[in-house]
Amino acid sequence: MAKIMVVDDAAFMRKMIKEILTEGGHEVVAEAANGEEAISFYKSCNPDLITMDITMPEMDGIAAVKAIKQLNSEVKVIMCSAMGQQGMVLDAITAGAKDFVVKPFQKDRVLEAVRKVLSA
């Protein structure tokens, strides 16, 4: 079981991802609605893993991953975005994400990504 922070500006997506992770035996320790909140909550919650949306107000997910990497270079992040084009995936991986899950996704795809990233 891992402590996970979910970052997405859509309340529906946070709820959906939280349900998937909880059913998979994980604990969602924080939910953030933008990149700035993600950085703040990361400092206070120190999660084992982060699921991160890309397109968000205030600060997008790519910028947030870069900032959190400055705090912990070993941080484990899975990007969860509907924008699945190759350039976006490359930007995310370059910023420091370990995997990229395209929305809409099936439960198994999310849990498999979490399992792989945690065991890497």
């Binding site: 309340a11 529906f12 709820k15 107000p57 509907a82 924008m83 699945g84 350039g87 929305k103 809409p104």
Partner: protein
């Protein structure tokens, strides 16, 4: 040349059939339209980048309740609450992000804006015609309107 009907149909099938398990028939209004009337609900997003334009999807309140219910794993929707509206925004986001991914595969780089929702009587007017695609399934009729043109800066 970009075939907007093909792009909308492919992405619509991916989202509605591939993810939500609906059997969908698509048809294109050949004449297009430069105004859109809706008395149900709708979601609108802008497409920006190498091509620019709008995406608007409209449907009845009954259909959006069924759509959101499916997105929530079958949870029965009686009233459209905040979580339902968030889900409907996400439907628009999934659809237009899918279109952006399709465009990227054809070498066209675009981004999208935050989804805007409407409810009740709305009429959109435009100088240019929209490509109009109707997707019919067991949850009802979903109309998709899209217009895209090459961005001024890249001409």
């Amino acid at each position: 040349m970009l075939n907007e009907y093909d792009v909308i149909s492919k992405v619509g099938q991916n989202v509605l059939a591939g993810y939500l398990g609906l059997i969908v028939e698509t048809s294109e209004l050949q004449q297009g339209a430069n105004s859109i009337e809706s008395n149900g609900v709708g979601v609108a997003l802008q497409i920006i980048g190498q091509m620019e334009g709008q995406f608007i999807s409209t449907m009845s309140t009954a259909t959006v309740k069924e759509l959101v219910s499916r997105m929530m794993g079958g949870y029965e929707v009686q009233q459209l609450d905040e979580m339902c509206w968030s889900a409907f925004q996400e439907f628009g986001n999934w659809f237009v992000s899918g279109i952006a991914t399709e465009l990227a595969s054809q070498g066209i780089q675009v981004n999208i804006t935050q989804p805007l929702l409407h409810e009740g009587d709305v009429t959109y007017h435009s100088i240019n015609n929209y490509t109009v695609v109707t997707m019919t399934s067991e949850i009802g009729k979903i109309d998709v309107y899209m217009q895209l043109e090459e961005a001024q800066t890249t001409k």
